[in-house]
């Protein structure tokens, strides 16, 4: 008797939690008709923001993978003095308030910043350009990828790399034929998270890059800018972001389920065994 009461209570709490999480998302689509939302997508503000977001996100994520993967591999496989400091540095943007990250980027790369005069001499101006958006997104989103990548590399059995070496494969071949395939589930999971985080970037971008339509105005910035002028446009853009996020999550689940050794893979993004 007591047990059924408890399980009823747990179920009720879970339903409340799920409703709380689902309701705002449903509301975006319930507010107006879908046809009206699709109409708004031809609004130039929405279209420009979409292009800026897509372009900066793709470049930022490419940079994150390019620089983050070797960094993660180093941090996962080597122990050196300052290792803990390096890991903290990687994770710092994750806990930094985005507005602070924006100020920090300005202080570093701004005209009056640390590297300002150097960049100036080279004829490079970063703040309030699309490059600044990319930098802000890369700075804020990178920890999500690198952390996941470190976990994925750490989870690969060192005996497998050793076996590869004794079978005549050098370090490079071992990395591409053994380490990378085994870690790829975790890397893809990290990339999806990083992509989603980068797409929603607001605070650091507005501080460091401003909100210029067609140049630096990303979807989240456009949502804020249009908020009191064209509520339907903001709903349309929000809808786009929700759909992208859901697609990322679903794609990720399917991708991880489809992985070759399903028995060893976790379906949870933050699970330590996501890499098998």
């Amino acid at each position: 008797m007591k047990r059924t009461l408890l399980s009823c209570l747990i179920t009720a709490v879970a339903i409340v939690t799920l409703l709380f999480l689902a309701l705002p998302v449903i509301a975006i689509f319930a507010h107006t008709t879908p046809a009206h939302l699709v109409d708004q997508l031809s609004n130039p503000v929405v279209r420009d923001a979409f292009v800026v977001s897509l372009k900066t996100s793709v470049i930022a994520q490419a940079l994150i993978v390019l620089f983050g993967t070797p960094t993660a591999y180093l941090l996962a496989t080597r122990r050196f003095p300052g290792h803990a400091v390096a890991v903290t540095l990687v994770e710092l943007p994750l806990v930094l308030p985005p507005a602070v990250a924006g100020i920090a980027l300005l202080a570093a790369f701004g005209r009056l910043g640390l590297l300002g005069s150097t960049l100036d001499a080279l004829g490079i101006t970063l703040p309030f350009t699309q490059t600044a958006v990319t930098i802000a997104v890369a700075y804020v989103a990178s920890p999500l990828y690198i952390r996941q990548a470190i976990a994925a590399f750490e989870a690969t059995d060192p005996n497998l790399t050793a076996a590869s070496r004794t079978l005549g494969a050098g370090p490079t071949r071992t990395f591409f034929r053994v380490v990378l395939p085994l870690a790829q589930g975790g890397l893809i999971a990290g990339l999806a998270l990083s992509f989603a985080r980068g797409l929603g970037e607001f605070g650091a971008t507005i501080m460091f890059a401003g909100s210029l339509q067609r140049v630096t105005q990303t979807l989240p910035l456009a949502i804020y800018a249009e908020f009191d002028q064209n509520f339907d446009a903001t709903l349309a853009m929000s809808g786009v972001l929700v759909l992208i996020s859901v697609a990322l999550l679903l794609g990720l689940r399917i991708g991880l389920t489809w992985q070759r050794s399903p028995s060893k893979r976790s379906l949870y993004l933050f699970g330590p065994s996501a890499s098998g």
Partner: protein, 352 residues
């Protein structure tokens, strides 16, 4: 020149250093308790661990030379290493695992190891015995100059083990390359290798054929590791024999020459168990209640007083023995060996 030669290699481990000089020409097994440094020997040969000093050569080719600061990368040493857990690549099929080492076709190896029907399977779906065959095929597909096996039978259940051991024995005989295997099981070592080296705390205590190790163990550790009963006592010469008074007062006679503190070794299969006192020439007789009856593989180990004997399950049934029942254990003076003598000894830790 030995095919594989280890010359005074030294590898510092957590609490001791591994020190080893060893020539590997045929199939050699290193046995010893866990943590004796056995796996480190294999890793050093394969280039996965770097010794502090010493030399490792294969057919005259220098793989490692501490003095000249030479250490070939693992992928440049022609060595086949079969890991304890086999370390098969889980994301590759059996065929791809075997082809990983060589640009060679895997077909020869698939047939030779009777795993053709598994070629498209992935390692997580294989049984223990199948995995071992794939791991061996993969290591040999590298066409190594030396084969290293780390606890080749430990990942198998008892039922599979006997069959695999026989297969492995035949395989190793036919390879024509030096084989070095490590195991914690003396029986496995004796079954698979021509010569067996006993290694304790990183040090090689004795290396000989399995028969020699059993017949003439250098020290009490080797004796106990090969399965002997060890008895501590005080020996005195009498009538050309040695009478040893054990700590519990029992007197045991040995044909070996000894005086003072001694350690005796008696093999379980040299001890006869009976319910009544035997009427034969056996000089040593222990009459005590049975302390334990345990099954070890296809044999039964019976402990009476200070010694354990091994008999078959049929004998056990015929004798109708039970724990707590008094019984006689008898063994010959000639089968009772002195393995440590002449000074204060303390069983296993003695290293004379």
């Amino acid at each position: 020149m030995a095919a594989l030669a280890l010359e005074e290699i030294v590898v510092p481990l957590r609490t001791f250093s591994l020190r080893l000089t060893l020539d590997v020409d045929s199939a050699i097994a290193l046995v010893g308790p866990s943590g004796a440094g056995k796996t480190t020997v294999l890793r050093s040969i394969a280039g996965l661990s770097r010794p502090e000093s010493g030399r490792i050569t294969s057919n005259g080719e220098v793989w490692f030379d501490g003095a000249r600061d030479i250490s070939l990368a693992p992928d440049r040493r022609r060595v086949g290493l079969v890991f304890q857990d086999y370390a098969l690549f889980p994301h590759l099929s059996v065929r791809q695992n075997i082809e990983y080492a060589r640009r060679h076709e895997a077909d020869d190896y698939l047939d030779r190891f009777a795993i053709r029907h598994l070629e498209r399977a992935r390692p997580p779906d294989l049984s223990g015995g199948e995995r071992q065959r794939v791991a061996l095929a993969r290591a040999l597909a590298r066409e190594p100059d030396v084969l290293l096996l780390d606890e080749p039978l430990s990942a198998l259940d008892a039922h599979t083990k006997a069959g695999v051991r026989a297969e492995l024995h035949d395989l190793l005989r036919g390879l024509g390359i030096p084989v070095l295997l490590v195991t914690h099981d003396f029986e496995d070592a004796a079954a698979l290798a021509d010569r067996v080296g006993v290694i304790v705390d990183g040090e090689l205590r004795q290396i000989a054929t399995p028969t020699e190790l059993v017949a003439a163990p250098n020290d009490s550790f080797v004796a106990s590791f090969t399965g002997a009963n060890l008895l501590n006592g005080y020996g005195e010469r009498a009538d050309g024999l040695t009478r040893v008074r054990l700590l519990d007062g029992t007197v045991v006679t040995t044909a070996d020459d000894a005086y003072g503190d001694v350690v005796l070794a008696i093999y379980p299969w040299d001890i006869t168990i009976s319910k009544a006192a035997p009427h034969d020439s056996t000089m040593n007789l222990i009459n005590a209640p049975i302390r334990g009856i345990a099954e070890i593989g296809n044999r039964i180990r019976i402990t009476i007083g200070p010694v354990s004997a091994e008999i078959t399950a049929e004998s056990l049934e015929r004798l109708g023995l039970q724990v707590g029942q008094p019984a006689y254990a008898s063994f010959k003076a000639t089968g009772t060996r002195v393995v440590a003598n002449g000074r204060s000894v303390s069983g296993r830790s003695d290293d004379s």
